[in-house]
């Protein structure tokens, strides 16, 4: 006992207790509820074990799998576009020598807005009747209003535009940090050897940046896979489920329909999506680092 009290376990205990209370217990509780018909308004249902019934129902629930597939597609497109725009902004800001700090601060402005506010603001921009976008297009002769938030493709594009506007700066700031850390010698040597700008970017800058790219991808994939506020504000997952993502569905099931057991079963399936993306990006991160060290 004394040995235990004097050992490293004692030092680790506060951390283990906090992690158990804050992370492990809520996770276990939510996992348990996914095996019950738990309804928020009927607390007694928390103790009724129904085995895999919620999961079995979800396997045959087409609405859930369509929302799952749409979330994967949304994530893939949004992440890649954010990478392209973020990289472009980072490269441009890295080039300038005057006012870089001011621009870096300005670039972070969208991140400072709460997602709910971003959702409201973009809902107004894309409103078919009084929205800025349709009024702007009207100046150019597009008289018939475009139903941005109704059409299946346009509604998803509109939500993606809001998401990208709000979060591209995450990529830009991380990639800019990467650019600032790249040693100048290999770039200058390549230029002396006659490489053009594209060759320098492709063979020197980009490989140096790849670890930063994958870190940004990992962080943002977790964010986007949990996308809720902006979608909820702009369309609520509708109309006719055309913009339904996993978390609008899960939130409605859990908090409006009060079916928290089913919502938690959905959450546990959707967690696999986040784990898959995180695993993939970490794998690519390690690969990029190894390649850098070989070179």
């Amino acid at each position: 006992m004394r040995k235990f009290l004097n050992g490293p376990w004692v030092l680790l205990m506060p951390t283990l207790i906090i992690l158990t209370c804050v992370v492990l217990l809520p996770l276990l509780l939510s996992l348990w509820t996914s095996f019950t018909p738990f309804k928020l308004t009927k607390p007694d249902t928390l103790y009724r074990f129904v085995g895999f019934r919620n999961y079995e129902r979800l396997i045959g629930d087409l609405d859930f799998w369509i929302a799952f597939g749409r979330t994967v597609l949304f994530l893939a497109i949004a992440l890649n576009l954010e990478l392209v725009f973020g990289l472009g902004i980072a490269l441009l800001i890295n080039k300038i020598t005057y006012g870089q700090r001011t621009l870096r601060t300005l670039m972070m402005f969208p991140m400072m807005f709460s997602p709910i506010l971003v959702g409201f603001q973009w809902k107004y921009i894309f409103n078919d009747n009084i929205g800025l976008m349709n009024n702007f297009l009207r100046e150019f002769g597009v008289i018939q209003p475009i139903p941005w938030l109704v059409d299946g493709i346009l509604a998803n594009v509109s939500i993606m535009a809001a998401e990208i506007w709000s979060s591209t700066s995450v990529f830009a700031i991380l990639l800019l940090a990467g650019l600032l850390g790249i040693p100048k010698d290999p770039i200058e040597a390549a230029k002396v050897d006659g490489c053009n700008s594209w060759q320098v970017f492709k063979n020197i800058t980009l490989p140096f940046l790849m670890p930063f790219v994958f870190i940004a991808m990992t962080i943002r994939s977790l964010d986007v896979a949990r996308a809720y506020d902006i979608v909820q504000m702009m369309t609520g997952g509708g109309p006719a489920k055309r913009t339904e993502l996993l978390w609008t569905l899960i939130s409605r099931t859990g908090y409006v329909d009060a079916k928290m057991g089913m919502a938690n079963a959905m959450s546990y399936i959707s967690i696999f999506l986040s784990i898959a993306f995180t695993f993939f990006f970490f794998y690519k991160l390690v690969e990029a680092r190894q390649r850098l060290s070989y070179e």
Partner: protein, 441 residues
Amino acid sequence: MLRLFLSLVLAVSFFGSFSAKAETELWGDFSGVTLRVKLIGGGQYEGLYNEVIPWWEENTGGKIEIVTQKNHFELDKEIKKDIASGNLDFCVASNHTSFASQYGNIYTDLNNIMPASVLADYTPLILEHSTVDGRLVQMPRHSDVSNLYYQKSLYEDADNKANFKAKYGYDLTPPETWDQVKDQAIFFSNPPDFYGTQYVGKEEAIAGRFYELVIANGGALFDEDYRPIFNSPAGVEALQWFIDLYNAKAVPDGVLNYLWDDTGLGFASGTIAMNLDWAGWAGFFNDPENSKVAGDIGLVRAPMGSGGLRTGWSGSHSFSMTESCPDKEAAASFLWALTSNKAQMIEARGGLSPTRPAIWDAIIAEKKAEGDEFMLMVFETFKMSLAEDAFTPPLIPEWIEFTNALYPELQAAILGDKSPEDALATASKKATEIMEDAGYF
């Protein structure tokens, strides 16, 4: 020993320029008591609190602590979370007749708390709607039903009259049936600048509008055992009405994302000819500072469906007292104050429909005395529709969950993704699962 509880006094209350009939008041000495309350927020609702809370505190010595003030859908989620966590540390909360049955037994049966003489001051039918499983779980604040607002000048225009008669073969007058609404909406529409009408297009809102049209067409949502029966000719006809207006561009393209604020502000913007809406919007619509149609508004009772019934989806905002409240006497007094003659008169002056017969008489007398023809028309119309046309949705805990299953299917049919029959068949299947899970059959 109970402290002095509820000094029941029969008093004649005087509010400004009118006097209402005798009211049973429910005061007491609640010095040292603080009531924690969760209230519905928003411009339309908060004026009451600013007047009644100081009034109650001054007369009883008690204090009110507002824990939460948010829109009803957010409040609903919060209370569900409170139930799940067992953390019901508040005494009074806003409620609604459509929501109340979800909350189980967390709210006290007010039949055991409120003296019969207090309850006698409210409209009996509304108290009946406020009752769940024989328990009176809420005191009604104001009632809601919708009627049809329209731009008067459109109906007075000689060209409109002649062109409409030539096209449809009957006179252009404010509509009596929903088929006439459709004809007139299509006739008036000139998209994208002007639309004949609009409807709320998502969540419980469109489900409720569909429900009342099914009833007006002679159908029903459920049979006596709560088996869904809305996939019927009456249901298809109701859904087709929404589809026809959407396809004819007689409603804005974005209507499926609209909720109450969108339709209210849309009519006030002057770009909508007819608007089925609640009483609470009347004052806003006729206020020149907020509305482009102020001074040009007509109002008729909600039109009839093919079954010869008028639409009349109705409900009442209310206040409830938790079973766990440690100061039930004080909470009862506060519930009374929030729904008293004084409180209801404050809200009635804003256009809301009272739940006390005395206030109907008082507000109509006041508007007559003021010569306010518009508000007089509003109160007389809503009084009649609440008395003759109003009906509640099924007062079952599954109502909101059911509407969440129904509305995406209605939207899919309106957008042309599905036929009305397919959409209603899918919704009916989902509704059957919900009712089966809930143990109805």
